[in-house]
Point group: C3
Chain length 307, copies 3
């Protein structure tokens, strides 16, 4: 595996590999000294054109636990010109002999374009509304910890601001590829135009679908994208699509509640549900580091024994 | 010791420990390779909600000299919502398996609240007008280098913008706990409301107190806090409370001049006094790294031999 | 060598040393694990008062490949007061026991002034319109890779916004010191006032000089400096001084095209020329890391064998 740009790049075997590796690395992260020399001497640049302390910190923690050198290159989107600006920035990084670039960019497809200009491996940490493949992998790792590796027939609901969500797209595509049934649940204006291309079905009615779901994945309401025009009022949204305590009481007893973070508590999810017994939201964050160690190892590792 | 939130957490034995450890670590920092493997594999996040390159750099230097991995998470206060926002940020860090968080926040008590949400150790690097315990420890370490460990009866004056100063509060409380006599010297509007709860006495008249002081601790005038309403004109302030060359000439010959930095030269302290023979201001900075190594070791270390 | 402030500090022997070391370090950077323990335990601060991810990243990559600890101290120029502000910032860094400071500042001479206040080594990473000595060294290293060590008689043209360029000044002075003939080519308003003090000649007419040049060094048009008043329109500039494809066709077949980056493609250089067969622009970036490793080693190293 040279790059990770989209979940489409991942065969079932690749996913199995990542899950196996992540299991090993999760054990590493729980050691007294949670550090392995696996990527010693490798240099990884985190190139974030959108703010994201959470994802950046997860990748950098993963890289440092593998003894890689990490450099942060945060760029306010406004100060970088599109097109050539990105190209020359990447060209510079390339010429410095960097091994991998973890990139987040507001334009869908930016990580793909970058691969044409650079020898280093490119890992997509979120591009516009397009994809966020490591989030899908960590979500699936978290689900398999509770439900085992066989996801066929598993019922997953992805709820809320689906249209604007790269997390939703990556999760829906990878989950369906692994045999799960995904339902996208949102008001009509927040559903993507071609639900089918995601391999999913859709519903406007959370209350009718909720009692059957094995996994209840809530999404961050993204005021900062096209919210103004398409978004119902927050109060109305919460009333119809918020995962309130009342709704949570009607979930299957063994349903898992997930959220990619950061949460708007009281909007798409009640604080008491986020902190409640069904929630695996903290596990998602913990697993995020292990999954990113797995991805970095799969891309940059020598193939030898790592733990 | 799990956290360091306030000087109230420190017994006399803890302070002695920190001073002993700081003495050893100061020797380490003067070696040709000033680095020990003491905290190898430990991950420390510096979480600064207020700008402070000085304190951040001191903690990060300390952590790196002990071979810890350090990640910086700088957050403009404006972009983080109070309450839940801080909670979820901290929850994320917690779930990533971080060992310690060095936190600076504009709200008094924020580090304390954070301990409720996270397993990691919390070190207060300054919270609002409340406390800055490592500054008090490094100030005391610096004083003991010149006056020995027994501080009983030592006369310390803390001068200037006392009311707004977390440094003043931490220093006054810890110094009096160790037996020193602390006098807070300021115009009435810049004195705290309950001087007694700090264990100190107060004076409005620097000139009458100055000749008796063993330690003359000047504070940064903090224009950025409530200065507008309570603050006299800078010219008037300097005339009555500035440590000018004329005033410095009336100090005891062995008095120590201290300042937590960054200084407003020509306001609370004359440049020639800051750079003069009584000044230990540079030593404070040097000692800051050693004291923070000591605190990190006391909190995160295995208890074994470190140097 | 204690500091590197200006190319004037460099004897011919120093330059030879840097080129030899850079050759060795370039080989290191191409190893599978491109890392040496040469500067283990040394702490280097990058102190950038002007934005420059490119140069900062190059120095930090160099330092990390030598196992030094690196801390970044980025300061928006606006928030640091001139004079005392810089002095106290540097004093703080000094007291922390840092070994070297890589400094970029908008004021010519700032790195020189800093040496008066600090024991650490100072490396100038660009000061105002004054100097950028490591850029000159990496440019010369790149030229020698193609033309050998003897630069006598080599014809180098430095084209464009010469007046505002610290790169032009450092390159012109060091190249002429090594025997090359440098011609500064620019409209009259963009030529420096005393061309002779740079050891160079000047020309207003690129087209007449271009066919004889061995090295065609284009400069970034710096809108951000005094451009408004002195600068011709961009269209007019490109017409007379831009390295277009048409002009590139009239270069000597073995001429080298260089640019210190970041480029304004389509302004001072056509994209097709920047990416064309004569361009060594990517090599400049690659060599930059090796040359900075060489400079850091020459300044901070123990003198022993490093690779």
């Amino acid at each position: 595996m040279k790059h990770l740009l989209s979940v489409d790049d991942l065969s079932r075997g690749d996913v199995e590999d990542v899950l196996d590796l992540a299991t090993s690395f999760l054990a590493v992260t729980k050691r007294d000294i949670p550090k392995v020399p696996a990527l010693r001497g490798k240099t990884i640049v985190s190139l974030f054109f959108e703010d994201s302390t959470r994802t950046r910190l997860s990748f950098e923690t993963a890289a440092k636990r593998m003894s890689a050198d990490v450099m942060t290159f945060s760029v306010a989107t406004s100060s970088v010109k599109k097109g050539e600006g990105l190209r020359d920035t990447v060209g510079t990084i390339s010429a410095m002999g960097i091994d991998a670039v973890v990139i987040r960019h507001s334009s869908a497809g930016a990580p793909q374009r970058v691969t044409e200009w650079i020898d280093a491996s490119i890992i997509n940490a979120g591009d516009g509304r397009h994809e966020h493949p490591t989030q899908a992998l960590l979500d699936i790792f978290t689900i398999t910890q509770h439900r085992g590796r066989d996801l066929s027939g598993l019922k997953v609901g992805i709820i809320g601001d689906v249209r604007n969500s790269r997390v939703a797209r990556s999760d829906a595509k990878l989950l369906t590829a692994l045999g799960a049934h995904v339902t996208l649940i949102a008001p009509p204006t927040l559903l993507p135009e071609s639900v089918e291309s995601w391999g999913a079905t859709s519903s406007l009615d959370l209350d009718s679908v909720l009692p059957e779901l094995d996994v209840v994945m809530t999404l961050r309401v993204q005021h900062e994208r096209d919210a103004q025009s398409r978004f119902p009022s927050l109060r109305e949204f919460t009333k119809r699509y918020g995962l309130t305590l009342e709704r949570a009481a009607r979930m299957r007893p063994d349903a898992l509640v997930m959220h990619p973070g950061p949460m708007n508590r009281g909007v798409e999810i009640a604080g008491a549900v986020a902190d409640g017994p069904s929630s695996v939201i903290d596990e998602q964050v913990t697993n995020g580091v292990a999954v990113r160690m797995a991805v970095l190892w799969k891309i940059l590792g020598s193939g030898g024994d790592v733990v």
